[in-house]
């Protein structure tokens, strides 16, 4: 298990959800875990939505100071340098969507590459309109790598259609993720499915994830 795990991908692919789940998973086997929100693009749904739950679980949370506030000030907190410079903790980095989001990663890239103990995960949802094919997803991967300066090392398939996700959605996602894995020459880490549905479908290779919620379920 690498010290730093970065989650990047097309926006709306489920990066934040995965980052939060991964941090909780890491905490089971590691004493010190920190999750850092590098998203300076997305104004509403973010790591900070789960801050209370994460803190209660003993995970350190670093978010842009103004995240979830009424201030539109896309500034990253200084503590982020601590994440890449102090190697005592296991770190989960939630990168903003697309290349635009990944630019913010650039200033930390030299530290991460120098330490060379990272997993850069591409989160894919093939039900998103601009990444419906493995080829389009590969295009987004390359754009993010260019912007952030870190090569991807693995793929997580998070293909879903929100509450309309069904067996067909998951199976077709796996098929496309396997194609992307071949195209990119990177391993497919796993396929994630919302926990209740994951148990119901019971498809091999799928891993349950808990969805973070900010508001409430609406009809």
């Amino acid at each position: 298990m690498k010290r730093v795990t970065l989650f990047a991908g097309h926006y709306g692919s489920g990066k934040t959800n995965l980052a939060v789940n991964w941090a909780l998973e890491l905490k089971k086997t590691h004493e010190r875990v920190v999750i850092a929100d590098l998203d300076i693009v997305n104004p509403y749904f973010r790591t900070k939505d789960s801050a209370e739950m994460l803190s209660a679980a003993g995970i350190e949370v670093i978010s842009p100071e103004f995240a979830n506030s009424n201030v539109d000030l896309p500034a990253l907190p200084a503590e982020l340098y601590g994440v890449v410079q102090n190697r005592q903790r296991h770190a989960v980095l939630d990168i903003g969507g697309d290349d635009r989001g990944a630019y913010a990663l650039g200033r930390f890239t030299p530290y991460i590459l120098e330490e060379n103990d990272f997993d850069m995960v591409f989160v894919a949802n093939f039900m998103r309109p601009l990444t419906q094919t493995p080829e389009d997803a590969l295009g987004v991967m390359r754009e993010i790598e260019q912007a952030g300066g870190i090569p991807f090392t693995s793929i997580v398939n998070n293909t879903n259609l929100g509450r309309l996700t069904d067996r067909e959605t998951v199976l077709s996602g796996i098929k496309k993720a396997e194609e992307l894995s071949k195209l990119a020459g990177l391993p497919l880490g796993c396929t994630t499915v919302e926990e209740k549905l994951c148990r119901e479908l019971n498809i091999s290779g799928t891993v349950p994830i808990v969805l973070q919620r900010r508001y409430f379920d609406i009809i």
């Binding site: 104004p43 509403y44 009424n70 539109d72 998103r128 309109p129 601009l130 259609l161 409430f216 379920d217």
Partner: protein, 353 residues
């Protein structure tokens, strides 16, 4: 096309493209920036124009230009940016130019904040710019409706030669839901004999202009325009009624407030309270008839809004103050919870208003 998972803002952009819009002009502002970002990615691939203008004011005037040439065109912004566009919108109306203006509302007044709001209701439905004019105002309550009403807005704008506003809010702009978009979302072809497309030496030239030096002519123009508005009012009201038939308490809400209210109505019904919802989809024209009809059998209305109470005035006008109307609201970027709406329903049921 099969279903895909989209953000509300993306759904607007893709639906606009599928409605034949090939010109987008805008300036970034949270929480609608994804519309511009999506257009920036898609437009160059399909031979369209995405242009980030130097300001909102430039963007709306570029819209004026393209619309004058008879093409489908749009701009989008959020509350403070839409205020900047008001002069241009008045000019569009004064020239009878169709166009789509999207407002993904955030808290105000002033710079306000980036969280969701519905406090531009007055601005959208009562004017905003100067002069006698109205806008087509559509209020989506889901990501699917962000797409469907975008297509509808383009059609209505062309049909009635009016600027149309899609009045959304930050929540629906940012949230993700499954949507299905037909390949071609145009429902009709509208001839635009008034457009400035070059005469080829074969006809009199067209003029797009809102300046009238002779007051009699300007008066005539205004009266003609209002005749068209009257037709629009008569023919195009859109409203969703949810469990209103036997309702004792009628909630009136649009956009995200309506989605929250449906949860509250389900909870109220479970408690034996007959609650229903009138959801205006067109804010102009306001669904007066549905309100009037409900006033005949309900104890009262609850207006649920993300504002200090703006639509509530239109409810009172529509029902002629026949029944009490209370306000259930949150502002500044906050959203009323289903519980808060349920409490307001219970109060009305108990005769407390």
């Amino acid at each position: 096309m099969a279903k895909v998972l989209m953000k509300g803002n993306e759904a607007i952009a893709e639906a606009a493209i599928r409605s034949g819009c090939r010109h987008y002009f805008g300036y970034p502002i949270t929480p609608q920036t994804e519309i511009a970002a999506y257009m920036a990615k898609r437009m160059p691939k399909i031979g369209g124009t995405f242009l980030q203008a130097e300001s909102e004011i430039s963007a709306i005037n570029m819209v004026y230009g393209v619309s004058s040439a008879g093409l489908r065109v749009m701009t989008s912004s959020s509350s403070p940016g839409v205020s900047l566009k008001q002069e241009g919108i008045s000019y569009l109306a004064g020239c009878d130019l169709p166009a789509l203006i999207v407002n993904v509302q955030r808290g105000g007044p002033g710079l306000g904040g980036i969280q969701p709001s519905q406090s531009d209701y007055f601005q959208a439905t009562k004017g905003g710019g100067h002069g006698d004019y109205r806008l087509i105002v559509l209020a989506p309550a889901s990501v699917q409706e962000m797409a469907d009403l975008t297509a509808k807005a383009f059609d209505l704008a062309d049909k009635y030669r009016m600027p149309a506003m899609l009045l959304a809010d930050g929540t629906i702009g940012q949230m993700m839901e499954p949507v299905e978009l037909p390949e071609d979302m145009r429902t009709a072809v509208y001839e635009k004999p008034w457009a400035v497309t070059g005469t080829q030496g074969k006809r009199e030239h067209n003029i797009v202009n809102s300046l009238y030096l002779v007051p009699e002519q300007l008066e005539k123009k205004n009266i003609e325009r209002y005749e068209r508005y009257r037709l629009y009012e008569q023919n195009e009201v859109m409203v969703e009624e949810y469990m209103t038939e036997d309702a004792d308490v009628c909630v009136v809400a649009f956009g995200i407030a309506a989605r929250v209210s449906k949860n509250a109505i389900t909870a109220a019904r479970a408690k034996g309270i007959k609650a229903g919802l009138i959801r205006p989809i067109t804010l102009y024209p306001f669904p007066k008839e549905a309100i009037r009809k409900a006033a005949g059998h309900v104890k009262g209305f609850v207006s649920v809004e993300l504002s200090m109470g703006q639509m509530i005035d239109d409810i009172r006008l529509a029902e002629g103050c026949a029944k009490p109307v209370t306000l259930c609201n949150r502002v500044g970027g906050m959203i009323p919870s289903p519980d808060e709406v349920l409490k307001a329903i219970e109060k009305m049921e108990g005769g407390e208003f």
